[in-house]
Symmetry: C2
């Protein structure tokens, strides 16, 4: 087993760049995950190139050496350096980032996000999408980076289960959906049908589109939608948390058919 003991080693610096920079992740095709459970969860779905763990963790969990092609024993100092959390468990893995979807599946169910920026919201939405039978997430207009440590943590491994695609803007997204004959449902407050009246299951594919935390969807996005729906609320209430609103739509349009088989 190789050792990685110095905080200033080139390899440690490279891993920190991978942790901190979306650009670095895109260029190298990898991402860094932290934590025993998260690394194990992701490894069920994506190939791990390298595992890094402290001596203590490796002696408590010897099976960790099977998780990746290569294992490095790291010092506590290196673990602290690599960590994005207050107290680190001392386990990290470098995963291969899956390729984005090139085309959407006709009949598929997708969560689409326009300019969702809070990593905790994005992570919570990913968990909901994965729980309610959506197969992929379509990001447009500068959402929080999918493979950042905070999204990985808030998403609890859902990132690894879901397919994804990125679009420059909502026009590109709408074009991709039309090409696959997938209906676009947008959450909006005005000129929208109540979610209670929206048919829950459709045979055709659908994409549920959620907007920015503070500002909601752009007018452009609402105009491109096939159906706009609103979540009925008490009259003196203006809005819900973005992850909550999105998750209620995902719950309404869920498809757990595979679960019953």
């Amino acid at each position: 087993m190789q050792r990685l003991q110095s905080r200033t080693a080139e390899k440690v610096k490279a891993l920190c760049r991978l942790r901190d920079s979306a650009k670095e992740r895109a260029e190298t095709g990898g991402f860094l995950a932290e934590g025993l459970r998260l690394c194990r969860d992701i490894a069920q779905y994506l190939p791990a190139r390298e595992l890094y763990a402290t001596e203590k963790m490796l002696s408590e969990h010897p099976e960790l050496t099977n998780l990746a092609a290569q294992t490095f024993e790291i010092s506590d100092a290196v673990a602290e350096k690599l960590s994005d959390t207050k107290t680190t468990q001392g386990v990290f893995a470098l995963f291969e980032r899956p390729a984005p979807l090139e085309t959407l599946r006709s009949g598929g169910r997708y969560l689409a996000l326009e300019h969702v920026q809070d990593p905790a919201n994005l992570g919570a939405l990913l968990r909901s999408a994965s729980a309610f039978g959506f197969e992929g997430v379509l990001l447009c207009s500068h959402c929080a980076d999918w493979f950042s440590p905070k999204v990985l943590r808030a998403g609890m491994g859902a990132v690894a289960k879901l397919r994804y695609a990125c679009y420059d803007d909502v026009n590109e997204l709408a074009k991709a959906l039309r090409a696959a004959n997938i209906a676009l449902y947008a959450a909006a407050l005005e000129r929208a049908v109540s979610l209670e009246q929206a048919p829950a299951l459709t045979d055709a594919g659908l994409a549920v589109l959620i907007g920015n935390e503070g500002n909601g969807l752009t007018d452009e996005a609402v105009a491109l939608a096939d159906v706009t729906v609103r979540i009925p609320m008490m009259p003196n209430v203006e809005s819900l948390n973005a992850a909550v609103a999105g998750s209620i739509l995902l719950w309404h349009f869920r498809s757990l058919e595979e679960a019953a088989q």
Copy 2:
């Protein structure tokens, strides 16, 4: 108008204690809110004792002087000292904390929380409870403090609209619910009916009980519930974000009848 210019003034120190300490808030019966919109929202429901705003804010929004019994013009330095955020707007208000509920209303709808600790989750749940026609929130076993700056911010003023009560533990909560003949619905993963099979509207009152972010409800809480419900999910998914799971239950058991009147 009085002025408050020095960061080290006794009054400024007292306001910082109010911002930071749940004990101080309980003892003085007040709480401090920050931000133009939040202060205005809360003032629709609760009496404001004092308003603090910078010269700039007071000249842009002269109607702010009507918001509280007394207004103080504060310096930028005092605004920064009082602020809990990265960049402050320079508006704060000291509100009177409403008294907790002494008894529950038979036929009432409540959100009950056991040991929910993340202020963002608590705030998101409050917004959902307020949006879906729940009249109060019942906190037990050391939840995040209801009147803390982070909960106020995440809750977007919902704190001011909802009545609340605190209980030492889930036993005390169950006693109060039984006394008012209110059914306790608990979210649980095992030995639970699917939410799809749970009747949505009941004439009797109900309380929806949500547990801690990491550990869910205690066994004691599950044992005390009249009905345990689970949100059906795909088989390879273990859990949802706590605020999302709770909000889906609140949505299912919503009562927007007043909205239609």
